[in-house]
Subunit: 231 residues, 2 copies
Amino acid sequence: MSGILYGLGVGPGDPELLTLKALRLIRENPVIAVPGNDIKASVAYQIVKGAYPKLDEKELIPVAMPMTKDRAVLEDNHNKAADAVESYLKQGKNVVFLTLGDPTIYSTYLYVHKRILERGYQAEIVSGITSFCAVAARLNMGLAEMAEPLHVIPATYKAEEMDELLKLPGTKVLMKSGKRLKKVRDSILRSGQNAVMIENCGMPEEKIYASAKEIPEEAGYYTLLVVKDKK
Amino acid sequence: MSGILYGLGVGPGDPELLTLKALRLIRENPVIAVPGNDIKASVAYQIVKGAYPKLDEKELIPVAMPMTKDRAVLEDNHNKAADAVESYLKQGKNVVFLTLGDPTIYSTYLYVHKRILERGYQAEIVSGITSFCAVAARLNMGLAEMAEPLHVIPATYKAEEMDELLKLPGTKVLMKSGKRLKKVRDSILRSGQNAVMIENCGMPEEKIYASAKEIPEEAGYYTLLVVKDKK
């Protein structure tokens, strides 16, 4: 019998934000796929290691997940990742694939998931805490109440349309602004809305920027903004 | 010294989707606030009881959270809930307040949280798995990829604007359509988009509707729709 692939959300950073199910699946299964070429440098590895110190006793397989928008390079890497996973499933071994946050929201895991399903294997998604919920908790604020919609926007892709997107009513969560941060910040300032920004939420190098005016021109990959309607 | 209020997301239904942090806080603290008049009928109580069978040994306080849009009734109930919590914090006891899903997304807990902070006490939010992430996992599908935005819409409030909202690019999650389901369904059919619906996700009475055409005219409170752009 073939093995099962589990796409496991490990949450945004704090090992205690792993679910009971995530910990059980890591404990019970022999093969753990870790995004990144260098396993021990992987944030997902470090999160799980914090909750499950015996992680190194498992068979750990590194899965290259390059940060690029080049479709051909991505396609090639996703296929290679699926091949690596498939080689274990064929042997009847389950594979637990670690992914930051939740696997259904902007996760590279999902491309492997689809391929494994298409190839006729069983694959399951195990929910994790999303970065935007963790950020709101850290900032001690709600994201959406009553009739307010919540819009989650991948800001690197959408920087050019930001003026329009910021007109949406309700709360806007801008994910991974990264290199487009200056453009995003200028749109927020033009919109006159309130914003808070958090870089490296829950990590030692965490930084909080309490208003739109304080947002710098550049920031790291793990940067998230919450923009709220003026009330 | 005053106690601390912890607003604890217990996830959407499966006790295994509690986080390690949630379980630790329940274990370590003496007073657990449970939404609802009848503690043992409360879904949040049942979820936690599944992960922590000794829950009944704690001091359990019921907190009335009526389902109404009447602002005055809500205000009165939120104040009463805050009073009940405060009476324990004053005695130096921590209170763990259970809430379904995540506390920052359409959670009644948040109204108590704000009041407790305003009254000068310490209150912390502990993230939980949101219902929409659990639904996507259950349906074995992603919610958002690459440049796609994700829009979370409280459909009971927004049924009248649904035709417009469904024009938003990306994935639309329609929460708690409940009594407005017929109107919401008709908007989806007019929009020509794909939709899936799930009622009571992860519970014994779970029902999945695989396309917009199958959506019934009425459904229960725990109903969630995912509407995806045609590709």
